[in-house]
Symmetry: C2
Subunit: 336 residues, 2 copies
């Protein structure tokens, strides 16, 4: 197995990427290819100890930024660290590509370079959110498709179910539909139709509608929604956690008494912060394309990169791409 990583993608590239790759070599003994500026990456590699024979370096001359238009960046910048990495998966020189670079560009590259699996209406990006019971809830889609139909949501449910089973190790994932009430008749037109559609799909454990009020409480394993809603949920949630923790920190630092109190509670507060730490998850897989594609958070540190690599290994070992293809084939048999 080989993992290729976009050495120039993300706010902390190439430092965090290279350090994360070295950590992954030490912990998982995996073979890694890093694409990017040779000099910069070699310079970073010198700073870390690991079996360097496990790391291959592929020099590229271009970098795709967050400011560029995704589709044209992927088409134009053929010698960018991201496009070269994506091509390696397309050409089976690597099994999984990881990038902390532009989300839009990576998704476009997933579709235009790696290519969509035939039979899947739309690939989706699946984000895992830590829940307060110590587990995770997976949310699909979180931004790849902003206008969806029932078939799209159906595909998201199927693919995320496979991912939950094969990568997250959940035996019988509870699949719910993001809605504004739990009753069957609730929601907008798309969600009402999807409720009916998912209720009829026997291959998944569809448990009905879920109000996003419950999202951190571990009431389901997978939340199905279009990419606009999913992105809104994800960002509202992240923003609320950040704003609330910031306010709490200010409150703790406001008086001498509260400072002493905060000091006494420190180890417990760190546990709460850790519980909600996105870096533990790694990244978000782009499901429905002909190879492993993982989007790491733009602000990934070395630990987040290392965890994204661990996730990449699990994605490959879990045979997720082939499992999705098998589902499509069986569906064809049923329909025929």
């Amino acid at each position: 197995m080989k993992i290729v990583i976009d050495g120039m993608g993300g706010d902390n590239a190439p430092q965090a990427v290279v350090e994360g790759a070295c950590m992954a070599v030490n912990e998982y003994g995996v073979d890694i290819i890093i694409t990017g500026d040779k000099d910069q990456i070699e310079n970073e590699l010198k700073k870390h100890n690991c079996d360097k024979s496990k790391i291959e370096l592929v020099h590229t001359t271009q970098v795709i930024t967050n400011e560029e238009k995704p589709v044209s960046a992927i088409r134009r910048k053929t010698d960018s660290s991201m496009v070269v990495a994506l091509k390696m998966v397309k050409d089976k020189k690597a099994d999984v590509v990881i990038s902390a670079g532009s989300t839009g560009a990576l998704l476009s590259g997933g579709v235009f370079v790696v290519k969509r699996i035939k039979g899947i209406s739309r690939p989706c990006i699946c984000s895992s959110i830590p829940t307060i019971d110590g587990g995770y809830v997976m949310l699909s889609d979180t931004g790849a498709n902003v206008d969806c139909n029932v078939e799209n949501l159906h595909d998201f449910a199927i693919m995320t179910d496979i991912y939950a089973k094969r990568v997250m190790g959940i035996e019988n994932p509870r699949i719910a539909l993001a809605n504004i009430g739990t009753e069957e008749a609730k929601g907008n037109d798309l969600v009402k139709k999807s409720f009916e559609d998912l209720s009829e799909e026997k291959s998944i454990n569809f448990i009905g509608n879920m109000e996003t009020r419950e999202i951190l409480n571990g009431v389901c394993d997978v939340v199905v929604c279009d990419g606009f809603i999913g992105n809104i949920i994800l960002k509202t949630l992240e923003g609320t956690v950040i704003s609330l923790l910031k306010t709490l920190k200010q409150a703790m630092m406001s008086t001498t008494k509260s400072k002493i109190g905060a000091l006494l509670m420190k180890s417990e507060l760190v546990k709460v912060k850790d519980l909600l730490d996105y870096t533990a998850v790694g990244g978000a897989p782009f499901l429905g394309v002909e190879g492993g594609v993982i989007k790491a958070h733009g602000s990934s540190n070395a630990r987040a990169i290392k965890n994204a690599i661990r996730q990449g290994i699990a994605l490959h070992e879990g045979n997720v791409v082939n499992e999705i293809k098998t589902y499509i084939e069986n569906m064809g048999d049923k329909e025929a």
Copy 2:
């Protein structure tokens, strides 16, 4: 001015409703009508001191529950505390109706009993969320309209702008569009078209797209969105705050050391909790109908009811209904 309040609506009715009404009479000297079961309400009234001549009681025999289908409940239960209260506004016997009962029923009642303002495509419900800088952000719509078009969002923006100015006292409200990125080209089909449309509306201070990650940070005064998105934002936000505070509480109570720490920080923590307290806001106005309609939170306590009454007074004194009508008339003049 007269405020009519649905005496039987809400989880804590009629106790909290009656107590809140008495508090409002004492604080604001307002005249209040309470609809509901005479015996129960009189029994509650006895428990509180206020000028009882300011409170009129209208006996009703029916109650609309959360479990009933909104439209049929409004049509069938003509002697319910909610319908009788709504009719008083329709018949100009009261200026504003407040209910903590079924949201769906109150919205249906707003449209079928009080009636839509001619020229407004769809009325909207506007929820105010406390921000961490001590202000509020208003979100429209938060559930009245789950499938919207550009015209609907336009009306929501105009009506909430008027509410923000006349009731919340904001001079030049910053109006933003809820989106998954700040760039103009971001979003689903509806949001992209709305961006263009709102950019051309000269009567409001449209500041562009807002990522919901920023919602608690006071970056804008009004967030425009359809009712499905708005409800998702509201519930994700509320759920995250509740889950996080619960986890923090557990962390604080987990060791003797952390308990002492929590004790030392108590007054500061209470301030944070107060900052995010929905009961301070009162309720959510239903804008675009021919009278004041305010939805109080289902779990409203007496303080929340009192604050909803204060808000009802401001809604009437701010002349919001007439201001909306004036806007529509002027728009007609322009178009003619």
